[in-house]
């Protein structure tokens, strides 16, 4: 064992499946989970004479990703290349990708680094390419089964610079990209279904050394947890290799979650030569600045910016701001409700949504997206509460009555006689009536028993079914 301190260097390649109805180069259905080979056109089957036609949605989605990560380059001219390899899940014998003229280059993404500070990770590029089919290995002893449904599904491959220094940072980066593509609505983010997959390039070097060590590539790691585990394992393995006097071999390795190991995937003899060349079937894609600018309207406010706005402008607690901002439907509903408030403060919306409203959703086993109550109804309710027209207790009753109703909170309060009794003469009469019926308790209160004070407040609330203004009841009692 040596005393060398090792530093980890990681770059990630994230394959993001785009949420389009049809494939990248043909009008073939992309719906997940269809029966094997039922979604394969002549193009994906590589029948001679077929030609690819580019799906414009893919171009727009890729531009939106570029805008979201502040890419310096969104190419006015991008091109397609062929990456040649033989594998049964790709009948053409090549993958159409963008090697030399990708659509997006030089973006930046902020994550929380290991030191707790914000760290900016450079995104080298994001390029458009097609997915391959799927091989099924466990179904047959001597064969692999091939399902070409996924073949030709649009992807953007997002390639980071080797700016990540630990498995933890890699996961933070991956989660941030996941947030961006799902909030953009360009990817469903479903990792079980393979919509969001990651390869990690991992190397180590002595701390302080500039030159990068030899890297290995960990393939297709399909959960955040596995990314962390696989990278940590691989780093340990590389340290062991180097410290025992050997060299790390540049190769592709597979993470085996069951055996908890990484192992070499390709034999050394096999020449990995993809012989890229420009795809002659596809012309260069030309767009102008107006085309790019037009996509800006589809870039939402991302959680990181939302959190800052909620905390700084609206005075929401950081934890609550986090919860709201990270729930896509929740934050939309929150923003809509806050925008409609006339009297109440934004913080009351946060408290209501995370408190009673969430509890109610949970009890009814549904989510924010079901919108059982409209933003205008909720803001109306909170305004009534802020104006003192109803008590807090009654606000919960009104909330339940608003459920799947078209009525406004104000209408419900009127119709059901739920308005807070603030008329002091009315309240005074109630209090006096109670005293006459409970003389001994009143005597005890007069002698300084504060329990009796609460008894009377409670009785008034009960008598008015919660409609009395507690503060007013107190002041009436104090005067008597």
């Amino acid at each position: 064992m040596s005393d060398i301190q090792w530093e980890t260097v990681i770059g990630l390649e994230i394959h993001t499946q785009l949420k389009t109805k049809s494939k990248l180069f043909a009008g073939t259905d992309t719906t997940y989970g269809a029966s094997p080979n039922s979604q394969v056109s002549l193009l994906e089957a590589a029948v001679p004479g077929t030609l690819p036609v580019f799906n414009e949605k893919v171009l727009r989605y890729a531009i939106r990703f570029g805008l979201a990560v502040g890419a310096k380059v969104i190419a006015k001219e991008s091109r397609f290349d062929r990456k040649n390899y033989f594998y049964p899940d790709s009948p053409k014998g090549y993958q159409i990708t963008q090697l030399n003229h990708p659509i997006v280059e030089h973006g930046l993404l902020a994550i929380q680094g290991d030191d707790g500070k914000q760290k900016k990770i450079r995104i080298n590029r994001a390029h458009i390419e097609e997915d391959a089919g799927k091989s099924v290995h466990d179904k047959y002893a001597e064969f692999s089964g091939i399902d070409l449904n996924r073949c030709g599904t649009p992807l953007i491959e997002i390639v980071s610079e080797p700016d990540l220094s630990s498995a933890k940072e890699a996961v933070a980066y991956m989660k941030e990209i996941h947030t961006i593509v799902t909030h953009l609505g360009i990817c469903d983010g479903n990792m079980q279904e393979g919509s969001f997959r990651c390869d990690a390039n991992v190397s180590i070097r002595p701390k302080g050394q500039q030159k990068l060590g030899t890297r290995t590539e960990l393939k297709n790691i399909n959960s955040f947890r596995f990314v962390e585990k696989a990278i940590n394992l691989e780093v340990k393995r590389q340290i062991k290799v180097i410290e025992s006097g050997q060299k790390v071999v540049q190769e592709t390795r597979l993470y085996d979650a069951d055996k908890h190991e990484t192992r070499s995937m390709r034999s050394k003899e096999e020449a990995n030569d993809y012989r890229y060349f420009p795809d002659p079937d596809l012309l260069p894609v030309h767009i102008d600045q107006a085309y790019i600018d037009n996509e800006k309207q589809f870039i939402p406010e991302f959680p990181a910016a939302k959190i800052q706005r909620y905390v700084e402008d609206l005075g929401i607690k950081t934890d609550d701001a986090n919860t709201i901002a990270n729930g896509k439907e929740l934050s939309l509903f929150f923003d809509d409700t806050v925008a409609l408030l006339k009297q109440a403060k934004a913080i009351s919306v946060a408290n209501m949504l995370l408190g009673e409203y969430s509890a109610l959703l949970k009890a009814k086993d549904t989510g924010f997206e079901s919108q059982p109550i409209k933003a205008s109804q909720l803001s109306g309710l909170l305004d009534e509460l802020a104006l003192g027209n109803i008590s807090h207790k009654i606000s919960k009753v009104v909330l339940e009555k608003l459920w799947n109703s078209d009525l406004t909170a104000t209408t419900i309060i009127k119709q059901e006689g739920l308005a807070q009794v603030s008329d002091s003469s009315e309240l005074e009469a109630i209090v006096k009536d109670l005293i006459s019926k409970n003389q001994s308790q009143f005597q005890e209160y007069k002698e300084g028993n504060m329990k009796m004070f609460n008894f009377f407040v409670g009785q008034v609330m009960k008598g008015t079914k919660g409609r009395a203004n507690p503060a007013q009841v107190k002041s009436i009692l104090e005067k008597l």
Binding site: S38, A45, L59, Y140, G145, D147, L148, M265, A271
Partner: protein, 95 residues
């Protein structure tokens, strides 16, 4: 020799072609003549020529994101020598 035996072997691997020992020299010689012919292109002075992505003076046509293709499953599967439960069967490719 522009193409040596090793290169022939490697190209054969990439192209998934089986080439017997006895054939290699002949193939190398024949590839030689192809390379020799192609090499003439290198003699052209292209210093003043702008790189060209495509000889057609046109840009890529874009398609709307709609499903237009019908399933060709049965027709395509019938072209394969081995299928089972709608899967194409190929020699095991586990790595």
């Amino acid at each position: 020799m522009l193409i040596n035996r090793k290169e022939v072997e490697q190209i054969a691997v990439l192209a998934k072609l089986s080439v017997s020992e006895g054939e290699i020299d002949a193939i190398a010689a024949s590839m030689d003549s192809v390379v020799e012919m192609i090499n003439h292109i290198n003699e052209a002075d292209t210093n003043a020529v702008k790189p060209m992505a495509n000889p057609m003076d046109a840009v890529q046509r874009l398609r709307a994101d709609v499903v237009t293709e019908k399933s060709n499953k049965d027709k395509l599967l019938s072209l394969s020598s081995q299928v089972d439960e709608d899967y194409y069967l190929v020699p095991t490719v586990v790595e």
